[in-house]
Amino acid sequence: MNLSSLNEKLPLFKGLNDTYIYPIMEALPTSFRIGMKQTIVTDVRSEGGGITTLRLHLKNASILRHLKAGQHIELGLESKGKRICRTFSISSSAQQSKEFGYIEVSFKVNANGALTPLLNEQTVGSKAVHVNKPNGNFTLPLHPAKEKSVFIAAGSGITPILAMLEEAAFYNLISQCLLLYYVKDGEHYPFKERLSALHAKGLSFKVMPTKQTGHFALEHLTHDNPTSTKRCNFFLCGPGNLIETASQALLDQGADRSQIFHEHFGLPITAQHKPIPAEDNAMSAHTVFLTRSNSSFNSPANTSLLISAENEGLTPNFGCRIGACHQCICRKNSGRVLNLKTGKVSDNGPEDIQLCISQAIEDLSLDI
């Protein structure tokens, strides 16, 4: 029996750990960090197309027990005493991860991002990257009820799909898989080698350089897929418009909603962002998603999140309304905010923000 399962079973044991053991361990010169698991980098490799893959071995792999291919994981690194966390798709197969106790994540360096430049500095042996439990519903059904699995990926949306394909290959189901992969450059695209290896095992795949083929169109699919829509499962990952057009086209073809699985992007949202001057964005409205209540509201320009939430009839906690009491504090999952008190723009990963002095400068997701 290991520590984490004891922790779950005995509240007293957990209390003891939380109060005494963990805080003391964190102060020691080890890489132990409260709330996250330690890893060690055991491999760094380039996947082509500017993508790097890190293999992270877990000291205690119990969090991988329920891992499914296609899930994502939160990575955390410390920089100047601050924890920076982002979610990445796991690109290694779930079966391998469980067997060997490691996960692989793939990323492209975003010079303006907070985390990817730090990830890029990691070398074999480094213990600085920490992880959380894997998560996510975009996964491969273990016993595919359909004859064929069709994967449609665009850009970095390939990462979770790669994990799924590796998984399918392990269970000898790869010959029932078809991949449509939209890339910028048909010659040098990410994961070229891994995909050809999968191809050798029976994967049918088609690289679609968007310059020539354009974005997704139904013909791309029907042309290569003689199987009737009804007998397929579809897995879509990429930007929002790909998912929308593809799902709509498939539904029009008579596919059922239950046959379509999708997720927005495989790499963290960071990679998609350009640096935006805060002033411009303070001028426009942004959407705020609330993950716990699964709703959203609009946050107009030059209005604090507290006020715009209240205008929408929500009742967040508050006290002073001037940024002093920390009562309106809430967890932000992603998106950047402008701090009206200091004029500083936040990071776009998960962190705590004060609603009364924060203003959205892009779409946000809040944990309320």
């Binding site: 601050k82 906690n317 809430c330």
Partner: protein, 367 residues
Amino acid sequence: MNTPNKDQLSKFAAELDNLRNTVIDQLGEKDARYIIRLIAIQRSLDLCGRIAIAIAFLAFSGTLAWLIAALGILLLSSSKILDNMEIGHNVMHGQYDWMNHPTINSRVFDWDNAGHNESWKRYHNHEHHTYTNVLGKDRDFGYGLLRLSNDLPWKPKNLWQFFTFINLSALFEWGVAYHELAGERVFFGKKKEDSNLPISDQQLKKDFFGKAGKQLFKDYVFFPLICWPVALQILICNVIANVIRNIWTGTIIFCGHFTEGAHTFSEDSIKNETRGDWYYRQILGSSNISGGKFFHIMSGHLSCQIEHHLFPDVPSSYYRQLSPKIAELCSTYDIPYNTGRFSKQYFEVVKRILYYSLPEKWQPAYG
């Protein structure tokens, strides 16, 4: 003392903002390690203290047992003091929120104190820090029990307020816990009319009893019981440790706002207050205690009350280095900067409590 004019105050505010920003820009690894290490030290003290007390009575007897227990009490009360002052108070002010740490942040951190963390944040961070020493607004001014200014009407109970003060010190954590409930008069039905708390009376009561129960259970039931044959001795030691912590924290806090020179303000005077006015009022309403590094840490840097009131969310470990700079700024702008040795400040507090226990007409000339 001349009141600085609008112009001077806005220049003064700009200089203070400048000081604040230089500190904020420096925050990093060193500060994160400071608080993480301090918490680890505090937890170790707590653990060692509790173990020492238990071993004292389980393995020794007579005077030796009490001597070892005294050491344990010393460790346990220091741990509680560190937890409440340098750690809890400052973390709950959001001084370490920039670390993005899952447990060291103002949203989830809880302290070893009877006061519920949410309730404390509501009245302390907001009310006390915004309306410092504003009569009728800042309930921390005399804690509703002590009359410390002639602007408050005299009542017969003020005659023995010195003893109320001694009691309040010994039970300080309960005063803190009961504070918001008392202010809202939740138990006596005389509900305040202009209450705008974002929380119901039921919730307020539930929080109070939940936290109070947890604290009582931990120190007075759980730890005594797991050392069953010596439960009573352990209970006594825990009571002593809590009282020591209460007296220390209470005393430091009284010295921060109720010394002779600490000003009070009327509600009218703070209407249309600018940032400069606010800074000015924070300085006039607070007083510092001079001392060494160890003393400042044990008092959670509330001995730098002025710096804390100017910059409540700047990590407290910077207050010591800010202090001389702010004192210098104050002297340039001819603003009184109240500081002194502990004995001087404490003596002034006692004097003030005694002085205002008499109605105005019986008071001798102050001094």
